[in-house]
Symmetry: C3
């Protein structure tokens, strides 16, 4: 028998896993195991389980037929609105006198319609509105269904669904657990407990944010009640906790700031609940998670207007759970404190000494403080052999090959300025012979004080990283030959400088030579470019703890 | 008299043709002759004709004054909402006791407002929502009018408009023809018949899709009625048939799949009719084609989410009617089966032999199966003169000029790898000397196994089609000199390959030489580039049936 | 005491100025002085003043905490919705029995929510809808508040607010001034007069447009009343005058056309008022400036669809007031009549004679009329020394250096066509040796009739302005050596030409040499490029009246 059944079981496994992922997507969670537990919680009402699974199988089949994106089908994105709609159909028809054919026909129509709408909105929303559609397809299709059958909407407040009797708990705990259960149309403490445990298995941080969001919602409920407003605030608790979970843990990396956001989100959701209930009173739509959607959309848009992210950072990338996102961020901050800055390579192949650093005494000041000067010194720290201070050509840096600090395009070249005698300065031509290079990966770099006619590249030319750009000289405001390097905010000559850091270089010290992934060397540091592949080192750097030492 | 009238007639002809095009636009049809027939059908109610023509003349004048796009004015896009609004005004004021001035004032205000709104939405919708606005301006302006005058909305269900008495037909036929007439506010079998004939003159396929869409709508009406829902499903038939026609024949190329889509569209439109009637009951908006708009928008968005178009292809370009779109697609498929692939020219000017094809035994396998190897062979099929197998320089392919297979930009150049002795292979450097070229018209092409220092181009350089890139050699994993050509999905070295085909080349066979517009030659084929202009041949190829033979 | 208070006063000054800017933003005016006067007008109801200032301080603090853009906070964009909401709260709670804590709690919640929503919409609207959000955040948050407390909405029509007794004025004047006051929730003639004076201080043109917009609105009110429609048209006057002011003076540069637009805008706003009042009757939303928003959005979109701006130009840039915008436009039109055309430099460094101009007799005709031919002539106007007509090499223009008329990219180069003997023409190759150059600042320029092998640049190459492109010859349809220059609409060979003008050149006449910023020289003009910096001259040109003479 097993032999006969196995292929059928395999065929069934895929849609069941898709259904589990659909269930987990309701909580914005990507773990199908949590989804499986949520599906198991549906067994409080076996009718729910059967309807949800049937809808997912039908929905998956139609999605395949229509060649909707495989990834969206598999990760539950497309099907979770279908899943919710199926639960909704199971819920409103639970005490109905309708025939089996009518009920299953309704389930079929609702499933197909929800799937089509879900696909339409998953195309439209991210592309056109720049917002996640979340469960809006469910809200629209089920809201419409409630509009058709207003007497069902009227019966939705009745909680006598044959669910297990509830234990005596503090009112707040009962309300919270019921709200958890309500998300799966199971307004019952035991069901809510099952859902809570499933979510906890996935992420404790998410659950904390849910509780904080709920608290924020209840605070506003109390406040509005104090103003004499009567409404179904308690019933709509799922909006507060989902809003708290989504904004405090999923869309933003968990932190104290995001916890505060979860609280605010719960409060805003409560305001939206009150508004929606007044506008749509009696239409059945007042039970739907529309306030949750409005809250997510308005707060996401609001936070995108910020000038600086501060301590509230949007989650970048896909993580197992909020904890993993926070851990990844913390690790990245610890390992690569400079990673948001422009990265440039040392613009020479030789070992050089930093003779002026960031915000330094001489000329790297004010708006032009993010700049570095480099010279070649001998072992004794001299810029030229002793007694040759007057002979420009004896300076080690004169004629030094200057190389591109990254791939990019040459935006401007000024050449033809004469080299100064040692100690002299040309104040008429501040930068002397110089070039501006826009790096492909960000940054507008200026390299200055080239030798007269010492620049080999032309405006508009593309250069690769490390490509020879020209030869260092002593032109412009330069008493001794040196390379001036800075990063600037616009392409104009004289634009203010912007932070940057050198990448993939060695610093020589008394202890030996130490490799740096990125950093800004101090004055006097003797540094040299690491000639090994940045790709290899970048990859290794992710694996090994601490900074690599040569 | 004729002499006196002629200039006036000419001045009148333009707005009348614009009105005809406006009428045809209601059915998404670009033929002004069909529009003229539809206008003629208005003569069932001469009042309609006068109102519609007056509104089009006024609307056209204002559009000109405002310098709205000439093309949109002429093709009916801007005026068809005005046309419909004028019919609507004629309809609701048909039995009114309002004075002439009030009626014509209302017509004027509605015309101007509808035109302004139509222009606003034709700017906003395609640009911001990525969707066709269709008749949304009419819906909003006429819906508002009905809101102002609710007693008119109440009288809209009365069908006693003085239209000719209807013949005894089966109920479904009566309902369908009435729905056809309703689009022009003429809910009468005879008027519907006139409209039907006008549409049939334009396209029989469109009419079939209208009928199928209508059937889909009626099916859902029956189903919802089976669930106990009572509503005006029959009255809203124009939504089903317009949705079927639009999606089954106009927005998608007619095919069996699009016929199925028309059926689904009719059903979805019926669901939207039910929803709109419940939400807007008593406001007058329930008679408006809002469900048709919602259906088009949601299904268009839904189908745009698909990964692959399959057999349901969006109509590309402007055609006389759906039949012409289907014919053009069928012709294109028959003539240019490779037209969706990347097209590359043979990367040499010589006749070469294909020594390894797609998905071939040696190394073009798995993810790297879309690749071709070329060698120069003599008439006997040898790669070098007999007995010279050990002398690399005697191989015909060694030093062969390799030319750009299309215009584009050089993304990567690797040079300096030594050539192998014949029979040798350099497994340390798989590709030997090679380059990657991004083609302007799509495709990322790799050419490999150049001679040491044999590449003449640099990273970042632009090359034209046929430009000399370098000389073939025997570097990398290459036992005998050959050109390796493939197309890859990303710019990374080692990225999987993607399908492509050669274009504009000759294949020599026993029967002579045959020209190919595009194709993937088989192993052993002797091929040579066609040196004549691709523009000329491409143009000729469209005209002449069959493939050109040299 | 002053010493102790000074730092506190300084801390208070910033939020007070922000509040003044918020007040001025209501009238789309950027002057904080007008805003301060409007705030002073609030003192008719000291409660209003206190509420508005408190909300602005709280809102400014939260905006800072959230790192919302400093500029938007300072210019009133973010806070003016908060300002209006605070007035609204002061208004609806003016006669309420609610405790102080409830009222101030409500003010706090409304302020925070309005700020969040305002930020969300200022991110979303411009980016996604391409429209200004204006006061939509206020409409939504206050509309929701009215929905919560419908009895307040009912009391909003009562005008007995303890405002000063009104003087006996003509009905229209009373209505207009009340509408002006209503914007600050002060429906009283004296308050309206104060607001009017504040706006007049900023701009008389804006006030004229407000009056014209009001007139347009009242016309439609009368018209609809003539059709038997009863509604609160008079009450909603602020919509008409704000719409007139916004479209007639702020979004478009004031002109006779914009005055007409203000009239239309007032009328459209009245239609929207009627529609909104019917749709939202009894919800409280009918008193909100939603019709004003709908009017701005629909007319802005409508006018953006225009093909040509005509005399109704959108305001470009930020100006002190509409008068300044109109003056700046008038000055620019007078000084730079060619500024909307493509600007090209003379493609040579020598003085040349224009031998064929725009729309000229020989070959610059029809679609190719925007073209110029240049030759070098001697002082007597000869193209070569007398008697040398047969010797091509003696023509002054033969071998002339042709220089890039602007920075850009070479799109096409055709070279290798033989030079004609003098007097000959090569009809097989119309353009002879030529190149097409896409200018970075717009324009696709063709330069034709180069010497055989006389083009020095390659396809795909970037060139700077004035860079040497090649040497003039006598190839193609050219009987004597000359440079042909035109600007074309697409990159195709043979594409129609488009208007352009030469920039920064001298014209020599009997009176001397005159510098031209831009212009199209006539046939026979002797012109030479100005070699001085265009930046310097462009800057000077803005300062000095009239055209500079050399």
């Amino acid at each position: 028998l097993g032999r006969v059944l196995r292929p059928y079981l395999k065929t069934c496994a895929a849609p069941l896993q898709e259904a589990a992922r659909a269930a987990s997507s309701i909580f914005l969670c990507g773990s199908w195991k949590t989804g499986a537990l949520l599906c198991a919680a549906l067994l409080f009402m076996p009718r729910y389980f059967v309807f949800a699974m049937s809808a997912c199988v039908l929905g998956g089949f139609i999605a395949k037929l229509m060649q909707l994106p495989t990834a969206m089908r598999k990760d539950g994105t497309l099907l979770y609105n279908v899943f919710l709609s199926a639960l909704a159909v199971a819920w409103i028809t639970r005490g109905s006198t309708l025939g089996l054919a009518a009920v299953w026909g309704m389930l079929g129509v609702v499933t197909v319609y929800t799937l089509l709408l879900s696909a339409a909105l998953w195309h439209w929303f991210p592309l056109r509105a720049g917002l996640p559609p979340l469960s809006v397809a469910f809200v629209v299709s089920f809201g419409t269904l409630l509009t058709f059958f207003p007497h069902w909407a009227a019966s939705t407040t009745l909680l006598d669904m044959g669910l297990p009797e509830e234990p005596a708990l503090p009112f707040v705990a009962t309300a919270f657990l019921r709200s958890m259960g309500t998300i799966l149309f199971l307004p019952n403490v035991w069901a809510g407990l099952a859902v809570t445990l499933a979510v906890l298995m996935w992420s404790r941080v998410a659950m904390i944010n849910a509780i904080v969001g709920y608290a924020g919602g209840i605070l506003i409920v109390k406040l509005l009640e104090g103003c004499g407003l009567h409404w179904l605030g308690w019933f709509a608790g799922h909006n507060y906790l989902l809003a708290g979970m989504a904004l405090g843990a999923v869309y933003f990396v968990p932190s104290w700031s995001s916890l505060a956001l979860a609280f605010v989100a719960g409060g805003v959701a409560a305001l939206h609940v009150a508004a929606v209930q007044h506008f749509l009173r009696g239409s059945g739509w007042e039970y739907l998670p529309l306030p949750y959607l409005l809250t997510i959309w308005s707060l996401l848009c609001c936070l995108r207007l910020r000038e600086k992210p501060g301590s509230l950072l949007p989650t970048a990338g896909v993580f197992d759970n909020p904890e993993a996102a926070a851990a990844a961020l913390a690790l990245a901050n610890a390992r690569f404190p400079h990673r948001h800055e422009t990265h440039v390579l040392l613009p020479t192949a030789r070992e050089v000494t930093v003779t002026q650093g960031f915000d330094d005494k001489l000329s790297h000041r004010g708006e032009w403080k993010h700049a570095l000067d480099f010279e070649v010194h001998d072992a004794s720290g001299n810029a030229c052999p002793p007694g040759c201070d007057d002979d420009l050509s004896r300076y080690y840096t004169q004629g030094l090959e200057v190389r591109a600090p990254g791939a990019g395009e040459i935006l401007r070249v000024v050449d033809g300025v004469a080299d100064n005698a040692p100690g002299g300065c040309n104040f008429a031509s501040n930068w002397g012979n110089h070039l501006i290079l826009r790096l492909d990966y960000g940054g507008i770099v200026k390299l200055a004080h080239f030798m007269k006619n010492g620049i080999l590249v032309k405006t508009g030319q593309r250069v690769g990283a490390g490509e020879l750009l020209g030869y260092c000289g002593n032109s412009g405001r330069s008493p001794v030959p040196h390379i001036h390097l800075h990063n600037q905010v616009t392409t104009e000559t004289g634009a203010p400088t912007a932070p940057f850091c050198l990448t993939n270089f060695f610093i020589r010290s008394a202890d030996g030579v130490r490799w740096n992934f990125a950093g800004v060397p101090k004055v006097g540091a003797r540094i040299a470019p690491a000639t090994v592949s940045t790709t290899v080192l970048g990859t290794l750097a992710h694996l090994a703890p601490g900074a690599a030492t040569y």
